[in-house]
């Protein structure tokens, strides 16, 4: 079937597709493109101009010039093998040339897509490291990564996922460093996805996850090209998704959620110290309110004499049980955090001042909550942001409520059981074949160079082979 009619059939509803027919005697051709989606000047100089010039030879010569010798247009172009390919190319923003009587079309890569400039990383800030972050355009993202690794071992594989959205997904890895098992698992899973559209990298994260009941994320998402590049060097796989400034890295262990890119840009000594603090406050943000409630309601004898007096005296006029008090404060803290994301930045400051005064000072003054509880909740809230990756922060925020509940019911015993259950779950978890707690469990001594702390680069950086 002739391509022009096949296309016209399918594009009746597309008001944004421009078609222009050129006739030169028997040689009739049609140019299709998305309005405002291509570089018109390129089209004019490289396609229309050669076509409109009178051709000295026969039409058959002209056809074979175009389709076989590919010497007709002074630009790069692709000849489509199937009508679907021609349609996809057109809808992807390429200019399509159809020649009357031909089944093959010609695609010109003259796309002009609106895109955001590369800007500073907002969620994963760094003081000394690079400031660039990914944007929505997948090609820009790819080039950001390529700038950091010019190795020919970098493998890039393309997938188109989504029957209607037709989202471009790229899988990146370093040949030879990445286990073939990992590559084939991810590739297989990507190919097996049957969906209408891909909403973003989060969709793929869920689609690739084989154990969705776990609250722990098992793929790292990042907006930092340097993090993706270094993960590739470490033998991991990166997945870029068109239209998302957050790209995925797999496998991800608990450790990789505790590593911040800043760790690698500061001196190892301080990086190690900060990383230690991060583990400490990770534990604090998970456990502190639960431990407070458990100790004050079940085991007050654990508190030193003077501390008990302070806590008891400030709790004395509070009308609620400690657990209710804790839930009130934690939930209102979550509320402020959640609202803070939506509040326009202009009035954000005002709201946060009101929140701080109302929730903090006034609640204590009115005797609705006690000052120690306020301190605990504030400390917990702040320390949950020490975890550098937001997806893990969400997990900690959620698990804190669960632990709070069990420790209010069963005291420290309940808290310990809760922690043990979490540890059991973590030990059983893996991310694409890598145990979630590695290199701690199972212990791998050689990976300790970049685990609890960071050894100096010179001691462990791979040298070129």
């Amino acid at each position: 079937m002739e391509l022009t009619t096949w296309l016209n059939d399918r594009l009746q509803m597309r008001g944004d597709v421009v078609s222009q027919t050129l006739e030169q005697g028997a040689f009739i051709c049609t140019v299709y493109y998305l309005s405002d989606g291509i570089d018109l000047e390129m089209l004019q100089t490289h396609v229309l101009k050669p076509l409109l010039l009178p051709y000295p030879g026969e039409n058959e010569d002209r056809l074979s010039d175009i389709l076989e010798r590919r010497s007709f247009f002074p630009t790069t172009y692709a000849v489509t093998q199937s009508p679907e390919m021609a349609l996809n190319g057109l809808l992807n923003g390429q200019a399509l040339l159809c020649i009357a009587g031909q089944e093959k079309g010609i695609l010109f890569p003259f796309q002009k897509q609106s895109q955001r400039a590369v800007s500073q990383a907002e969620n994963e800030k760094s003081i000394r490291g690079p400031k660039e972050s990914f944007v929505e355009n997948i090609w820009t993202n790819l080039s950001l990564i390529r700038q950091r690794m010019k190795s020919e071992k970098l493998a890039v594989e393309h997938f188109t996922i989504g029957s209607e959205s037709r989202t471009l997904v790229m899988m990146l890895y370093m040949n030879g460093r990445c286990s073939s098992e990992l590559i084939s698992t991810i590739k297989g899973k990507l190919q097996a996805i049957r969906t209408e559209r891909v909403t973003g990298s989060s969709f793929l994260e869920e689609a690739l996850d084989s154990r969705l009941s776990s609250p722990f994320p098992r793929m790292l998402n990042t907006e930092r090209p340097d993090l993706v590049a270094s993960s590739l060097f470490e033998g991991r796989v990166a997945i870029l998704v068109e239209g998302t400034p957050n790209n995925l890295i797999a496998p991800a262990t608990l450790l990789s959620f505790m590593q911040s890119s800043e760790d690698y840009y500061q001196r190892y000594f301080f990086s190690s110290w900060v990383r230690f603090l991060r583990y400490l406050f990770f534990a604090v943000s998970l456990v502190l309110p639960s431990a407070y409630v458990a100790i004050t309601t079940f085991h007050p004898e654990m508190l030193p004499y003077n501390l008990l007096i302070s806590i008891a005296s400030s709790r004395d006029i509070v009308p609620f049980p400690a657990i209710v008090e804790a839930y009130i404060m934690e939930v209102s803290f979550e509320l402020m955090r959640e609202a803070g994301q939506r509040i326009p930045t202009v009035i954000g400051q005002t709201i946060s001042i009101v929140g701080a005064i109302v929730i903090g000072d006034a609640a204590v003054q009115a005797g609705i909550v006690s000052a120690p509880m306020l301190i605990i909740v504030a400390l917990t809230g702040i320390s949950s942001f020490v975890v550098p990756h937001f997806s893990m922060t969400l997990t900690v925020r959620f698990l804190r409520f669960v632990l709070l509940c069990v420790s209010a019911m069963f005291g420290l015993l309940g808290l310990l059981i809760g922690i043990i259950l979490i540890v059991i779950h973590l030990v059983s978890l893996d991310s694409f074949g890598t145990p979630y707690l590695s290199p701690f469990v199972p212990f791998k001594a050689e990976q300790m160079r970049d685990a609890a702390g960071r050894f100096p680069w010179t001691r462990w950086m791979r040298r070129s082979e």
Partner: protein, 388 residues
């Protein structure tokens, strides 16, 4: 959907499991608890036990910048009477609006009459209760002990803290209930109890005489009963023999002209060793300490090491005198106050076997204490004497 179903099933199972545990709800809010900080035990003239508990009152404690409770004491003493300690305790507990928590108990004071009648019922009560720690300090008061609670806690918020600090700072040899229970069940039940006293102190800044609690000597325990008392001097000797003290002031006299010399002892350590000689056992106590000279009335040239030895000698003699006095009194009353019987028991069990028929007479006659005090004067301040 599968996950949602599984999660729902899990939650249901957890909820059901929790329902089975509904009887385990042992939580108690801080607002519903009252905290005992000191337990005072007396015996009245009719022979009934009087138990007084010093409670902390969180509702009267001002926190932070608010000070709305001026003039009100943040503690209260409640007394009950009964035939034994639990009965006396129950006598006042049933009137309290809050549950009693023992976990913060840190001081027990025993009145003279109760102590002389024998501490066995108290030991029995202490060893059965699991609610408080074994680190509770025990004191003795020569008189009706609950009168001690009249004191004005000028330096601290609670009287308990004043008493507890005397043991913490080791101004008096600290005794914890663990020590007492140990000596009562393992050894002869002998020991000593540091003494608290109460006097009216005229404090000019307070514009009145206030009741003031300080440290005195120590009561001597023999088989769980108080029979005698170490004087304050002797108690310092006890301190040297039993406790490693961080800081201790000692004042002695120079051998030549009798001028006073004072030094601050730092890191006083003691070591006890038992050495058998035939049928007898030598108990060798080595006390070592560093000292800083604080004042001296003498013409000695402190630049010369030989003169320093003279000062050290004078201080050592002073300490030796105190320690010897303590030992002498204990031997006179045939009391194993320093638990030295234990050294014989564990090092020479066969000898202990022979002694065990008449342990007290054997401990007095066949055990020879030898005390060796070594002081090293490490700092003299200005290395020149006062008069030159």
């Amino acid at each position: 959907m599968h996950i949602v179903k599984r999660a729902a099933r899990m939650l249901l199972a957890l909820g059901l499991a929790c329902m089975l545990l509904s009887g385990c709800w042992s939580k108690q809010e801080l607002n519903d608890r009252s905290f005992i900080s000191t337990l005072i035990i007396d015996l009245n003239e009719e022979g009934a036990t009087e138990v007084s508990a010093l409670f902390l009152l969180p509702n009267r404690i001002s926190t932070g910048l608010q000070s709305n409770t001026a003039g009100q004491k943040p503690y209260v003493l409640v007394t009950g009477t009964g035939r034994n300690i639990p009965e006396a305790f129950h006598d006042f507990q049933r009137d309290l609006p809050r549950n009693v928590t023992w976990g913060q108990l840190s001081v027990i004071i025993i009145g003279d009459r109760y102590a002389r009648a024998g501490l066995a019922p108290l030991f029995d009560f202490l060893v059965r209760s699991t609610e408080f720690r074994l680190r509770v300090n025990v004191f003795y008061y020569k008189g009706v002990a609950r009168n001690l609670s009249k004191l004005a806690p000028i330096f601290e918020r609670f009287p308990t803290e004043i008493w507890r600090e005397t043991a913490h700072t080791r101004r008096t040899p600290p005794v914890r209930i663990r020590d007492m229970l140990y000596s009562y069940w393992n050894n002869l039940g002998d020991g000593y109890l540091p003494e608290l006293n109460l006097k009216m102190n005229n404090l000019l800044t307070e514009n009145k005489k206030v009741p003031w609690s300080g440290i005195g000597g120590a009561a001597i325990l023999k088989n769980g009963k108080v029979i005698d008392r170490f004087t304050e001097e002797e108690t310092e000797g006890v301190l040297l023999l039993t406790t490693d003290v961080n800081e201790l002031l000692v004042t002695g006299q120079m051998p030549d002209d009798g001028g006073l010399v004072s030094a601050r002892l730092i890191d006083v350590k003691h070591k006890v060793k038992a050495v058998r000689r035939g049928d007898e056992v030598d108990i060798r106590v080595a006390v070592t300490a560093d000292a800083d000279l604080m004042s001296i009335q003498s013409n000695l040239d402190l630049g010369r090491p030989s003169n320093l030895r003279i000062i050290e000698q004078a201080l050592q003699e002073q300490l030796l005198k105190k320690a010897q006095a303590a030992i002498d009194r204990a031997r006179k009353r045939r009391v194993d106050a320093f638990q030295w019987s234990e050294y014989v028991k564990y090092k020479y069990p066969s000898l202990w076997q022979q002694w065990s028929k008449h342990p007290r007479s054997n401990l007095t006659e066949k055990m020879k204490p030898e005390i060796d005090v070594r002081i090293r004067l490490r700092n003299t301040g200005v290395s020149r004497s006062t008069k030159s």
